[in-house]
């Protein structure tokens, strides 16, 4: 067994272990952390497939950003675990059916000669750049899906704002821009007051 297959088996075993812990861990925060581990191992496997850009993006975007969101959601939902576990047996048949469909799909893809990559990977030289290969394709041949991706991002942005943006009423806050721009005339009013006679004033 060469080093590459050893590394692959280590990452694959780590990923299966992490995946199992994601669904078995009692604490949802631990589940999220094991999901991070699963992402990291998946990134290692992608690197073994020479998909370097995707591998690093997986760490950057999923581990760096998406998991932060997952943790926020776990925190925000204020999950009560006992309540969560209540419906387990009621939903079990549904979940099992879904799992069976997934396994069937995997068997179909991996077992089929047409869809499975049977010829093996071609190893590239040290100066091979996967990111260049990707760049040549995304922005020319796949320009239409690329622009669709932009629209999907736009929809996500608008939806997130529409769902979560709440204007609070009665919040007192400073606006530094307005504070700097203020003029003397806005704040200070000189009232012309008629001068009184000094003599009578003092006498009284």
């Amino acid at each position: 067994m060469n080093v590459e297959s050893l590394v692959f088996y280590v990452f694959a075993a780590l990923m299966i272990f992490a995946g199992l812990r994601v669904i078995t861990a009692r604490n949802p925060v631990h589940s999220a952390m094991f999901l991070v581990l699963a992402f990291c191992s998946a990134s290692g496997i992608w690197m073994l497939l020479e998909a370097e850009f995707l591998s690093i993006t997986l760490v950057l975007v999923y581990v760096g950003a998406v998991m932060v969101l997952f943790l926020f959601v776990v925190m925000m939902l204020d999950i009560n675990l006992d309540q969560l576990r209540e419906g387990f047996w009621r939903w079990f048949p549904f979940g099992a059916a879904l799992a069976l469909v997934m396994v069937g799909e995997m068997v179909y893809v991996l077992g089929n000669r047409k869809t499975a990559a049977t010829e093996g990977l071609v190893r590239h030289a040290a100066d091979y750049s996967n990111i260049k290969e990707l760049g040549r394709l995304i922005y020319t041949d796949y320009v239409y899906p690329f622009e669709i991706a932009a629209v999907v991002l736009l929809v996500a942005m608008v939806a997130a704002i529409a769902l979560t943006l709440r204007r609070r009423i009665g919040v007192k806050s400073q606006n530094p821009g307005k504070q700097v721009l203020v003029k003397k005339a806005d704040r200070l009013r000189i009232v012309p007051v008629a001068a009184e006679k000094s003599g009578s004033d003092r006498a009284a």
Binding site: A126, G135, T140
Partner: protein
Amino acid sequence: MLENYFPVLLFICVGLAVGVVPMVLGKLAAPNRPDDAKLSPYECGFEAFEDARMKFDVRYYLVAILFILFDLEIAFLFPWAVVLKEIGMFGFVSMMIFLAILVVGFVYEWMKGALEWE
């Protein structure tokens, strides 16, 4: 190509060792005499006041999701920047359209005040 990433693998191994070895050493070498008082959870010397999990303001979520979206946008810029000379004007224009669509979203969130914290 993979040989370029051998240092990264080495780094992962060393990082794991740095994390795991002190824990194992502590387990093996340190005296361990727990009792009820030592193992009880406490917070600044007191009994824990409440559950550690609490509701966050939903605005943190909004900031996080907007961050992810722009993070993805940046991820698309990297391969483009590397091959810009090869893909020429067509590639340049396709990226400009991509950016223009996202700028619409950016303007929307700016005008909506989603970037303001209040």
